[in-house]
């Protein structure tokens, strides 16, 4: 019985496929993400070209999905966007410094701890997991940043995404952002 119940859970609760948003939402998501990522890239290009610093990390792509593609989601709110990246970056850097001789352990502990910390601080933001992982698996340049990684890119980047989200997501009649600040 218990075994059947366990496998029964795997069949899901809901029939049919998930709903699709309308075309307007698709276009708005595209434009928002385009502007947000472009803004981060421009700032990176104009201010940090030729320096050891880089403002663009992969996890911002994931943040763009939330902040421009699922505006209402609790996971996309400012507190989560900025706090999630910031805290996860701290966790990632600490894990790299303490555990870098065991890469597999540094990676898994970084992501798992980032999730736990985001939960505890009510800043759960899925891309934060990537920010923590990148701190460990990143290039030598990223490792060299040390705790500077927390500020740059992990705080400045989300702040730019947030600024674009505030400006863009409130233009269309069908959108408003944020739902909750802090």
């Amino acid at each position: 019985m218990k075994i059947r119940e366990y496998f029964g859970k795997m069949s899901g609760t809901t029939r049919g496929s998930p709903p699709r948003v309308n075309n307007e939402e698709v276009v708005l998501s595209w434009i928002g993400a385009f502007l947000g990522i472009a803004a981060v890239a421009w700032v990176d290009h104009f201010f940090f070209e030729g320096t050891d610093l880089s403002l663009m990390i992969g996890s911002f792509g994931a943040s763009a999905v939330l902040v421009y593609g699922a505006v209402r989601s609790p996971l996309a709110q400012p507190r989560n966007l900025v706090g999630g990246h910031m805290l996860s970056a701290v966790v990632g850097v600490v894990c790299w410094k303490l555990l870098h001789q065991y890469p597999w352990l540094a990676e898994s502990v970084a992501v798992a701890t980032a999730i736990a910390l985001m939960h505890l601080t009510r800043t759960l933001h899925p891309p934060g997991g990537a920010t923590a992982l990148i701190a460990v698996t990143g290039s030598a340049a990223i490792h060299k940043l040390g705790f500077l990684y927390v500020l740059m890119p992990a705080t400045i980047g989300p702040l730019i995404l947030l600024a674009v989200a505030l400006l863009f997501n409130n233009l269309p009649a069908s959108r408003r952002y944020p739902e909750i600040w802090f």
Binding site: T13, T14, R15, G16, P18, P19, V21, N22, E24, E25, S29, G69, A70, V71, R72, S73, P74, L75, A76, S174, R175
Partner: protein, 209 residues
């Protein structure tokens, strides 16, 4: 629990239930269509939230709408061996349209209503009785002196437990035509009388607006 009473027997936790609609996936998906943007929630989760929120709201609105808070106390009950003429006087003194009948232990065994009198006198309404009395008042006197309460009363009485909430009370009122419900404790002993008008007064629909 005495077998002579038909208490609506439901667990106390369901005593606050207010009919809740079962939402289908179609209902929820249709609602989601009306909200622009991507909603980060599954239909099943929404249903769960809706259900729990409903439960919480009912508790907030009707939590203190319990039989023991609404009942009239100091009700002098009738006894099964009283004759109907005494019972009629007691009813008039009480000002109620019906009085519970209790045994020696105070357990509710029935309820005597104005309709029981009419049935006993083989008429349908008080107006009909009035016409009969103008013809044949003797027979009316006679029947009332001869008949003890337990022969005329409605038994078993529909009662509610003191902790009954809105759902149970409504259910009990649905089970019979009467205007009042005896409120009993766990042992079926009479505690008070819940009048329909008191209940309706407390069931303030304004709170729902």
């Amino acid at each position: 629990m005495k077998e002579t009473t038909a208490t609506t027997d439901k667990p106390a936790q369901s005593s606050n239930e207010v009919p809740e609609m079962e939402l289908t996936d179609g209902d929820i998906l249709d609602a989601m269509q009306h909200i622009p943007g991507y909603l980060d929630i599954s239909t099943e989760d929404f249903r769960t939230i809706y259900h729990l929120a409903h439960h919480h709201a009912v508790g907030r609105l009707f939590g203190n709408l319990r039989a023991e808070n609404l009942m009239r106390t100091n009700v002098l009950p009738l006894h099964p061996d009283m004759y109907l003429d005494e019972a009629a006087k007691a009813l008039v003194r009480s000002g109620y349209k019906a009085l519970p009948v209790v045994d020696a232990d105070g357990a509710v065994i029935g309820i005597l209503t104005e309709n029981d009198f009419l049935r006993r006198l083989q008429v349908g309404t008080f107006l009909e009785l009035l016409l009969h009395m103008l013809d044949d008042s003797f027979e009316f006197q006679h029947r009332c002196h001869e008949t003890p309460v337990h022969k005329a009363m409605t038994a078993p009485a529909i009662t509610v437990r003191q902790e009954a909430g809105i759902g149970e009370i409504i259910h009990a009122f649905h089970l019979h035509e009467g205007r009042s419900l005896p409120v009993v404790d766990g042992g079926g002993k009479l505690l008070g009388l819940l009048l329909r008008k008191d209940f309706l007064k407390a069931y303030d629909m304004e709170a729902l607006r």
